[in-house]
Point group: C2
Chain length 415, copies 2
Amino acid sequence: MKLSKKIQGIQASPIRKFFKYTEAAKNAGKKVYFLNIGQPDIKTPPVFMEAIRNDGREIVEYGPSAGTPLMISAVQEYYRRYGMEFTQDEIIVTCGGSEALRFIVDCVCDEGDEIIIPEPFYTNYGAFIRASGGVIVPLTTTPENGYRYADRAAIDACVTPRSRALLLTNPGNPTGVVLSPEEMRLIGQAAKDHDLFIISDEVYREFVYDGKQITSFGQIPDIADRVILVDSVSKRFSACGARIGTVLSKNRDLLESLLKLAQSRLCAPTLDQLGSAALYRMDPGYFTEIRAEFEKRRDAAYEELSKIDGIVCMKPPGAFYITAKLPVENAEEFLIWLLREFDDGNETVMFTPAEGFYATEGLGRSEIRIAYVLNEQDLRRGIELIRLALSAYRRAGAPLRPACPASPDARTVPQ
Amino acid sequence: MKLSKKIQGIQASPIRKFFKYTEAAKNAGKKVYFLNIGQPDIKTPPVFMEAIRNDGREIVEYGPSAGTPLMISAVQEYYRRYGMEFTQDEIIVTCGGSEALRFIVDCVCDEGDEIIIPEPFYTNYGAFIRASGGVIVPLTTTPENGYRYADRAAIDACVTPRSRALLLTNPGNPTGVVLSPEEMRLIGQAAKDHDLFIISDEVYREFVYDGKQITSFGQIPDIADRVILVDSVSKRFSACGARIGTVLSKNRDLLESLLKLAQSRLCAPTLDQLGSAALYRMDPGYFTEIRAEFEKRRDAAYEELSKIDGIVCMKPPGAFYITAKLPVENAEEFLIWLLREFDDGNETVMFTPAEGFYATEGLGRSEIRIAYVLNEQDLRRGIELIRLALSAYRRAGAPLRPACPASPDARTVPQ
């Protein structure tokens, strides 16, 4: 029996590769600080479970394929608060943001069609695009340049006759980059000039710091027909296991195609939609406290990272990740060494090597991503362990990355 | 902006086409008996909601991509009861049987690869295959032959160098056909000879009547590496809105590919897995009562259908559908007429025209599917309305199907 080439071309989750090392470290009695996890430690607001617990239905039946009216209305009201008006049939509820992305990519990509994505990017985009037969065209960014990607010449250079869309995460995973309104307009203009869709994954929308405004590609009227918004309750409400996402669009042809895919899988989970509608109906004040907590953690993480000699790292304005370039040649080898050879007071640390976030071969090898979803004390200790380990790694004669000059845009800590 | 050809090639749900007519009938004060719905009216066993209500977690977090250990163990134990032994890593939990099918098709189909499916078939198979760039090769069956498809010469005639798998529903939707052990062996041998996967959608497994044994393609050892089982809690436990399905396979390469797709969408809904595990842990005696209820309804539906002059229809041995050939040229036109023009005591009826279940152009035009998920009285009245309407339709001078001889396999009611 033959298996499809397209799925064989998808990378297996790198987490599995390191699982045996973290298990071995734990079995050796070491405490491991997990800085690699994207699951927030914030409690899911109790209204989610209350709405489900109080439901009296006797049959957990199919809902409408596009989403339950209750959930769609709740999403509609949420968007209205940010000045975005969507009709109910411009909103489709999906099994997580993942299904939203998979559906969108299916709707825009035939075999060989291209999607432009700033790299480093959320690795699962690669799986969705490859499963669809599409091709990723990476718009390369660098740690020295603060991973910014709103560069018209660089975007233009990625466009070919097979280009179908720009796909971006804003605020960004893994970089934490947040687009400025000017950058959003630049990207919008590029999409217009090249007749591309903008697939804007905004699942971290509320996670912007330093008093920044919450923005969305849905707020720019003159590109409304080419913007496809992806959303989810996972990060926004710390309800990752609910698997409730949303696609929003004003493009009728796209909506019709999306609906066909939605119908083919019948519906998103009925009870989780009930709980998610309650989440969306919460007082928006909810985000103030969450945002303050993550901002505090971001500051703590950045402060600790800044103590590392030779690191290249900017203070990210959004999401809950920091991507940083370490003074090592190969962050993956360093991580394995950390888990196997290193400890400080019987403690060590786990992070995500960033190479898997790049489509371009060889890029990102010195970079890592950490998620600041731990409490401040554990977060500081985890990063301290990276710093201590780097000194020990150096002493052990490990290959180090040659120093490279930082651009003026990047906050780098002098070596 | 361009949209993908593959999604444009997918048919929109035919339900929408008739929605305006059922709405108009209801608005005109008619009572409509809906014989088109696949949502059972059986109550979801209370253990589902109890397991969720009693859960004390504070964060509705991601579960493992392959499924929660609790859910996987529950599925494993359920299969053990039918003499099938699967290790935990041979079981992957999905967002409904729909996602299971989508993943499987992605794993076996590159653009242009072929999947052989007995027609008439569950229409969403078409969407999954087209979305994947694959091609459906229909193995045509007929109402006169009782929709049976285990015909070696007919299967061989469908095979080409691009053939990758046989996909079948057993017990069947929309036909209710149940394979005999001999037929399963014949299909298994054909798959071996042509090196094909057998994708066996067994979501109606327990719905077999007349004292028949429950069988599965997972029970045939010599084809274990090529069998892919699809399963779901939707019909089995009347929990359609839970969106919990399963894939089971003993093919390591396939499992690895499936796991990559499962990882790319993170996980199936966490709470629904909790409830579904409780469903699978119920006493198997649960099915006895459900089966008796559906058998009674099937008998009632068949009895009523048998009163229709010129119908071609067998008594289906499984699932909860009957597909029948009506003495009309075009069942869709008849349905629209039923909803717009006909009433008996201000009542009319809705069924599913079967043409959409066929891939071959022009087939199935005289056929309809009814789902016997209503209580017996409503079911009998709904079918009576079809019978009364047919007489009126005849009198109105509607085009009738020419009579065709029945094969000895089919139970036909003489004209």
